[in-house]
């Protein structure tokens, strides 16, 4: 059994690398959302969880005699290993599992300027907002390790492998990590062919709903140049500058520079979706986005069928 801990900076592609490693090695990721959404509510009320999110000193408070929240999280993290290896993303896991055998500690980083550019391009943020997100995120992550675990986040000896992703892409980073893991632990099922297999999967054509496939077929029939979920727009950020709410419109018409979000939800469940679209329009006024509701989508498909039927019988 082996364990991977991944410490990363915002905009370093650390999340993407963790996600891909998880797919390549078939190991689940455990991140802070598991802690806040599942574990801490078992021992803390809503206010307590809020305090833990906002004030890291609170981790040293006791919740049951002499047991602290920090102890509880560490126990929970270790407990996940009973069901097999895990990839731990952040949470001070490089410190918690420091002495554990068969553990590889990874650090993913990139120069500030590179991360800034990525946030601007990939999240469509202005320079000031991107800079703010990066600074806040770096500060909070550093503070978390110092306040909760008494360590320096940037201490190079906490990590076995440090990767600067300025010139190394996600695939190359995964390749390096998998090579190290394979050598470190022969139990690792890593196969070099897996990366190329993964890369060749046309994931963008793996539609979530049949109606999306139908819609794509209609777009094709008109010779439209489209892409499926090519862009994710962040809508809100958490206190560490990570994305806490986002939307990836289903289709993008390239030449028309138009995003289309389809929905098959019944009208009574549409409120949340509409709110997200409104927020998207508010935050990104330069983009054109169309929300096609269930009724409109059905009408669109029906009319297309009527048209093509008429043409066939001519």
């Amino acid at each position: 059994m082996y364990i991977l801990t991944i410490s990363r900076t915002l905009g370093s592609h650390g999340d993407e690398i963790a996600k891909k490693l998880s797919q390549l090695l078939s190991i689940p990721i455990i991140d802070k959302e598991t802690t806040y959404a599942e574990w801490l509510p078992e021992i803390a009320d809503e206010h307590g969880v809020h305090m833990l999110r906002s004030s890291y000193a609170f981790y040293h408070h006791t919740y049951d005699r002499d047991r602290t929240y920090k102890d509880y999280v560490a126990e929970k993290l270790k407990g996940t290993l009973t069901s097999g290896p895990k990839i731990f993303l952040g949470m001070g896991s490089q410190v918690i599992f420091r002495e554990y055998p068969s553990t590889v500690h990874i650090r993913i980083n990139a120069p500030f300027s590179v991360r800034l550019e990525r946030l601007q391009q990939e999240w469509h943020l202005g320079t000031a907002q991107a800079m703010l997100n990066l600074e806040e995120s770096d500060t909070r992550r550093k503070k978390f390790i110092r306040k909760v675990h008494g360590q320096d986040w940037e201490d190079e000896f906490l990590y076995d492998l440090k990767i600067n992703t300025a010139q190394i892409d996600v695939d190359e980073a995964c390749d390096m990590i998998c090579t190290l893991v394979t050598k470190r632990d022969r139990l690792c099922p890593y196969n070099a062919n897996q990366i190329s297999l993964f890369q060749s999967e046309p994931s963008r054509y793996e539609f979530r709903h049949e109606v999306e496939r139908e819609f794509a077929t209609i777009l094709d029939s008109y010779g439209m140049d489209w892409a499926y979920e090519p862009t994710t727009f962040p809508l809100a950020f958490d206190e560490e500058g990570n994305i806490s709410q986002a939307i990836s419109p289903d289709f993008y018409l390239k030449r028309e520079d138009t995003y289309i979000e389809l929905t098959v939800m019944n009208p009574k469940y549409m409120a949340e979706k509409r709110r997200k679209i409104e927020k998207l329009r508010e935050l990104y006024p330069e983009i054109r986005v169309i929300l096609m509701d269930k009724k409109g989508l059905q009408a669109f498909i029906e009319r297309h069928k009527l048209k093509t039927h008429t043409e066939e019988i001519q």
């Binding site: 008109y222 096609m292 009408a299």
Partner: protein, 168 residues
């Protein structure tokens, strides 16, 4: 097949609007000798009436598009006149998603037209996916299926003088 429902636009209202459109086009196309490129079959009544009301010298041509056996939209019957260097006024019966119009505008541009402008009798902007500029709009209508005055369902009801709502 269902019967057409209520009248959305009466014959007289349509005639009056076409007359106004013709006046506007006359002004814009004076001395330009445009070709009224009519998309068959839905637009043929509209194109005929518009052409009769226009004073500006113009020619008329036709175009048919259809989805082939693979499902792709293709030009089935191209116009007979050479569009190169011509001012083309595309005559449409209705624009909704804009996908067909997008395809045709592309086609006309590739033929070397000097300009391409769109004139549609009906505009249903609610379901618009492709935002193409439409210079002349007869009526903006709500999101309903319509028949009559050239518009059909399975080739029927084109001959109705008024435009009716139809529920498939």
């Amino acid at each position: 097949m269902n019967e057409p429902k209520d009248i959305l636009l009466e014959k007289q209202v349509i005639e009056e609007r076409i007359d106004a459109l013709a006046r506007q086009i006359d002004q814009d196309y004076k001395d330009k000798n445009p070709v009224l490129l009519t998309l068959l079959k839905g637009s043929f009544y509209f194109a005929a009436d518009l052409s009769k009301q226009m004073q500006a010298t113009h020619s008329i041509d036709f175009l048919t598009v259809a989805h082939d056996s693979t499902g792709m939209l293709k030009v089935r019957y191209p116009p007979t006149s050479n569009l190169k260097g011509r001012h083309v006024l595309l005559i449409e019966d209705i624009v909704d998603s804009g996908l067909t119009l997008h395809y045709i505008v592309d086609y006309v541009k590739k033929q070397g037209a000097k300009s391409v402008t769109v004139c549609t009798l009906l505009d249903n902007p609610v379901r618009r996916l492709v935002n193409l500029p439409i210079s002349y709009i007869g009526f903006t209508i709500p999101d309903v299926y319509v028949v009559g005055y050239g518009l059909d369902v399975n080739e029927y009801y084109r001959n109705l003088s008024d435009i009716h709502i139809y529920e498939p």
